[in-house]
């Protein structure tokens, strides 16, 4: 079987900090493989048995290659970097369209299309389902468990208030709901294996889309303005030596609300 896993390279928001004015410090923040995608990939690698292939792909700038190399080190078999200057500024629709075009051209026969729940930088969590709709296949969101069952799979989905078990036909889109906080480290043999592998680059022409179908020009939404969110917090800092005094502070604040 062939499993295609979509990944994204993101700034490590855990490493981000705020300065005194409450604005985000982005300089020097390292880029990482989105933890949700890493989790989805490791789940697929665990499921892989003899003869199965795990293909990873990402859309991003040339430096997103690093995220794919990490995937190869973790054990993926093939990696595609979908990159083109024209892809910049893509919204959910344009991103999904490019990914769908790639899938139809390069991995149309995959048995599952696997996504992480969301990217930690954008946090929209919508690309998997837009891709599913464009492919015309079923979608399985918030998947907790995925097992093989005959010709297809069985997924357990966690909707928060209900947990549902579904039969997953081949060719469906599956998105995993969880994340592994500790991440996963490649093994030495994985690291050595990845050194001999290449990341295949795919551009706009290769996936057959026009310039008005991708990136900013192909987007259906437009950011009109951005502003720093109102730092309306009072920000009074007190150093406490006696816990009783600190507890008193809080109790007083609470009495004001009750």
């Amino acid at each position: 079987m062939r499993f295609a896993v979509a990944v994204k390279q993101v700034p490590d928001t855990m490493e981000m900090s705020v300065d005194e004015n409450g604005s985000l410090v982005r300089a020097g923040v390292p880029s990482i493989l989105n933890p949700y995608d890493e989790y989805a990939l490791t789940r697929m690698l665990e499921m892989r048995s003899e003869g199965d292939e795990v293909i990873v792909f990402t859309m991003g700038p040339p430096q997103a290659r690093d995220a794919l190399v990490k995937c190869l080190e973790l054990g993926a078999d093939e990696a595609y970097l979908i990159t083109d200057r024209a892809f910049a500024g893509a919204d959910v629709w344009a991103t999904a369209r490019a990914l769908t075009a790639f899938i139809l051209k390069f991995v149309p026969d995959a048995d599952l299309y696997v996504f992480g729940r969301q990217a930690i930088d954008g946090d929209t969590g919508q690309v998997p389902y837009e891709v599913a709709a464009q492919l015309g296949v079923q979608q399985f969101a918030y998947t907790e468990e995925l097992t093989r069952d005959g010709d297809g799979f069985i997924a357990v989905q966690d909707y928060g208030d209900t947990r549902r078990t579904c039969r997953v036909p081949r060719g469906s889109v599956v998105s995993f709901g969880a994340v592994d906080p500790n991440g996963s480290l490649p093994t030495i043999s994985g690291y050595l294996r990845a050194r001999g592998m290449e990341v295949r680059e795919v551009d706009r022409v290769a996936i057959g889309l026009g310039v008005y179908s991708v990136g900013l020009k192909g987007s259906m939404t437009k950011i009109v303005s951005t502003r720093t969110s109102s730092g309306s917090r009072r920000n009074r800092k007190v150093e406490i030596n006696d816990p009783a005094v600190g507890a008193g502070f809080i109790v007083k604040e609470l009495e004001a609300v009750r």
Binding site: L24, Y129, Q134, M220, T221, S229, N235, V257
Partner: protein
């Protein structure tokens, strides 16, 4: 018409003169923008929870219906799925201001199926041409909305925390980068779609009303084989409803402190929530997790004990009225974000609060 050559003939005036671009055919007073959409009004997906007699409308759907009237001069449409039991909700739905309710009673769609729901709502959107489609940012709404947007080929803004109307255009506001930035987003096409976070709009006043209900027939859409479904009943209380939240994070090293926190929460009439790390340790259930991958809360007072305040966590508390942070690390990012920061050991303060509150209560008795 074969001798019509570039508008130089005088046999008809339908093609206009090439040297006079403003000349129009007779009777036509201005150039119409043929790409202009005629879409108008707002469509809201009314999400239902529970089954049978216990069926109720999701709060966020009610909030959106209440807000829809103010966002548009056009009509307010609602779409709801389910069988006979949904009829009990009609008076309330119309009371919230719905003009026309489309009720989908197809047997295949009585249970939530994202593929079928999306195709059905798409067929409805093509019929009524709303300018705006609003869906609550619940776990179901967040997977249904993109499916609809993608089938229609329109834009979608996820997780909005504000909507403002500009004619029939809607400017959608959503937090970015963990709540440190706020972005205003416009959709370039009709219908413009948004998922909206629960609590963004006030709950409208509950009253009964009447209106038009139409059974919307739909067949087709992908089917889905659901083998079984179970309702997860964790603690009945929801941290999103709490006015006071005692929230615990990584700085809580001793598991017994959770009991202390529960005791404090009981005394002040609040609830205990947590950051992601405690869920991953298995100390707290996922339903109590606050943050990007957990719940978004908006209590009166949010007290963060031993929470460092990563952006993912702060995104979940941006709606809190007041934030108090207790953390022994003076450099923890949460201290920049709180109204009141105490640089102290979280456990000491918790125990001391427990003691102080016990004292004050027994003193009153």
């Amino acid at each position: 018409m074969s001798d019509c050559s570039g508008g130089s003939c005088s046999s008809c005036s339908s093609c206009g003169s090439s040297d006079d671009p403003d000349r129009l055919p007779p009777g036509m007073l201005k150039v119409y923008d043929l790409n202009q959409s005629t879409a108008d009004g707002v469509l809201v997906w009314i999400e239902t929870e529970g089954f049978g007699e216990d069926l109720r409308m999701a709060d966020v759907s009610a909030e959106l219906l209440g807000a829809a009237r103010g966002l548009s001069d056009g009509r307010v449409f609602g779409v709801v799925f389910g069988g006979q039991e949904v009829k009990a909700l009609y008076p309330r739905i119309f009371g919230y201001g719905v003009d026309t309710l489309y009720h989908v009673r197809e047997r295949d769609l009585e249970v939530y199926r994202p593929e079928g729901y999306a195709s059905c709502i798409v067929s409805l959107i093509k019929r009524i041409e709303p300018a705006t489609v609003l869906i609550g940012a619940t776990s179901r709404g967040r997977e249904l909305a993109p499916r609809i947007a993608s089938e229609l080929g329109t834009g979608l803004t996820a997780d909005c925390t504000g909507l403002t109307a500009d004619g029939r255009r809607i400017v959608m506001t959503r937090p970015a980068f963990g709540g440190n930035l706020v972005a205003d987003i416009e959709c370039l096409r009709f219908p413009q779609m948004a998922t909206v976070r629960p609590g963004t709009f006030p709950m409208p006043e509950a009253r009964d009303g009447t209106g038009t209900a139409i059974y919307w027939q739909f067949s087709g859409g992908l089917s889905k084989e659901i083998m079984f479904e179970e309702t997860v009943t964790e603690s009945g209380e929801d941290i999103r409803d709490a006015r006071i939240l005692i929230s615990l994070g990584d700085g809580i090293r001793d598991r017994s402190l959770i009991d202390v926190a529960e005791s404090v929460a009981r005394k002040v009439g609040g609830m205990v929530s947590c950051s992601r790390s405690l869920v991953e340790k298995g100390w707290m259930p996922r339903s109590r997790q606050v943050g990007m991958s957990g719940r978004t809360v908006a209590p009166e007072v949010y007290i963060a004990f031993g929470i460092s305040g990563a952006v993912q966590h702060r995104a979940g508390i941006s709606g809190a009225h007041k934030v108090i942070a207790v953390n022994s690390d003076p450099d923890a990012p949460i201290h920049h974000y709180a109204d009141l920061s105490l640089i102290a050991d979280a456990g000491d303060i918790l125990r001391e609060m427990d003691r102080a509150l016990r004292g004050s209560r027994s003193g009153k008795q």
